[in-house]
Amino acid sequence: MDGRVSLRQVAMRFGDFTAIQPTSLEIESGEFFSFLGPSGCGKTTLLNMISGFLTPSEGSVTIGGSDMTRVPVNRRPTAMIFQNLALFPLMSVYQNIEFGLEVRGIDRQKRRQRADELLELVALTGSGDKPVAELSGGQKQRIAIARALAVEPRVLLLDEPLSALDLKLRQHMRIELKAIQRKTGITFIYITHDQGEALTMSDRVAVMSEGRIQQVADPMTLYRQPQTDFVASFVGENNRFPGRVMAVEGELVTLDAGLPAPLVGRSATPLEPGDPATLYIRPEQWRVGPADDRRLPLGGVIQSEHFEGAWLTLEVALDQGPTIRAQVPHMTPGADTGAPLVVGGACRLDYSPRQAVVLAGTLHEPASEEAVNVAAIA
């Protein structure tokens, strides 16, 4: 089944307001693809353009190899799981699931057969005759999935489906959704503002902000090698050090960020001395040691300390520098030797330059022009 989705220079304008900047994207058949971004970034708009509820102002939408830009909703090979589920309240579970088959004129026996298969797939066998109102949130979720799968779509579109569920249920459903996707081989396009969801479930994620795709990559690459300032700050936590390039040696860049010692990190793009650049260090990349450990190059004063079980989160004001957040394992080897770390006390810090990311540009600009509107395969 060809479940590829291609967006070519697709844009969406409402009067003067541009909701989606011209964007191109290729989604593979059978992929679990997520759009991640804050509210208002345009992910729902993109989803609506793929499902057919919106016609793009420019550009084309191709599904399964055929141009679907002007094809109306009810004739696209897509099915959507709505945020509020939109199960038909006056119908039973069976009637809901069979709805798509009914409008296609499929006879009763075949419909019932398919509905039973799907009920089994979502582990709700026997609930067919129940009225929808009697189901729990998680059960309704699964019926919505079954209903969508009944019409054998090539692409399943999920609009923040788990946002209304409680934590435990959400975690359970993540696993289930992933399993269903693997089993059916349907392309899943998933939108969410929850990073945890996007990163754990997806093959690839597109991070969006203000109508633009910032970066498309698999979760690990997104985390380790962000390509724009937005991605670096939005995905996980990051400590930022804006500054100026002092020296470049291969991949390694030395940066003057106003601290007593320069910082070193790795840049994916070539930089010249004198270029403005920002260095990013994630909280878990810090090594924090007692104030008398001169092996650690940076110094600072601990502002606060939060105990979180396996981790200890520290806020440290670096000497002549910004306040950073560091996350250290609570039980570090040798933690009980030497001077203990106390709030208000001094400490020393180290990080691994090879893990620190350097991006060109400063706070208000994207790291590079190519990172914007990317159809990258990272």
Binding site: V73, N74, R75, T78, A86, F99, A148, V151
Partner: protein, 266 residues
Amino acid sequence: MSSSRFFSWALKAYLLVFFVYLFLPLVIMAAATFNASRFPTVTPWTGTTLQWFSALWADSGMWSSLVNSLIVAIGVLCLALPIGIASALFLTTVDGRGKSFIYALILSPLLTPGVIIGISTLIFWRGWGLNGGIALTVIAQSAFIAAYVMLMVAARLQRFDRTLEQAALDLGASQWQVFRRVLLPYLKPAILSAAVLAFLQSLENYNTTLFVAGYDTTLTIYIASKVRTGLTPAVNALALLMILFTVGLAMIYEFKRRREAARRLG
């Protein structure tokens, strides 16, 4: 405070008088049905009898006007229901500059005196060759009954979750299928209530019907004419039966409505 006690006593007395005022005429009228006196009254009471019911049964004029009333009511249902539903669909779907004007236009029959609706309908359709009769009555009554239908259907329509339409489209339904299988079932209770209301309003209408009925008298016109000519308690018998019918229907309707509301909340 005694002033407050006085008020509360006065209020209760007032309510009592009020409801007596409201129900007494009906009680008296019902009672007069069983009085053998030739003129409908309860004083003097000349004897208890059921003869007026048989007199009513034998009255062919009554039967033919009853049939006319029913035909008109059914005709009104066929005309006012689709129009009212269409208008409700229109008003809940569109937005725009002309909307409030159209809304005012739709409500105008409700604010127009019934006689004016009757007269204008009579005048207009004579130009098209249609004179007073059942068809004209249906048209005239539907002119304002459709507005009531619209109000009742629109009230329910406004609470409809439109993502259900989107879901149905997304699953492949055509727009007609979405209407028939998702929207219409949802509207069914409102349409039924509107139908009951339209039916009853048609049966009991007088002011408008008076001008457009022609020779096809309806029940209300028949009763009114009987009161001024040839009045006997047979009219009371008819009145009593109509009251029982209407009140019975109304109470069934009310109970069903209350049960629906309770079920939705509970």
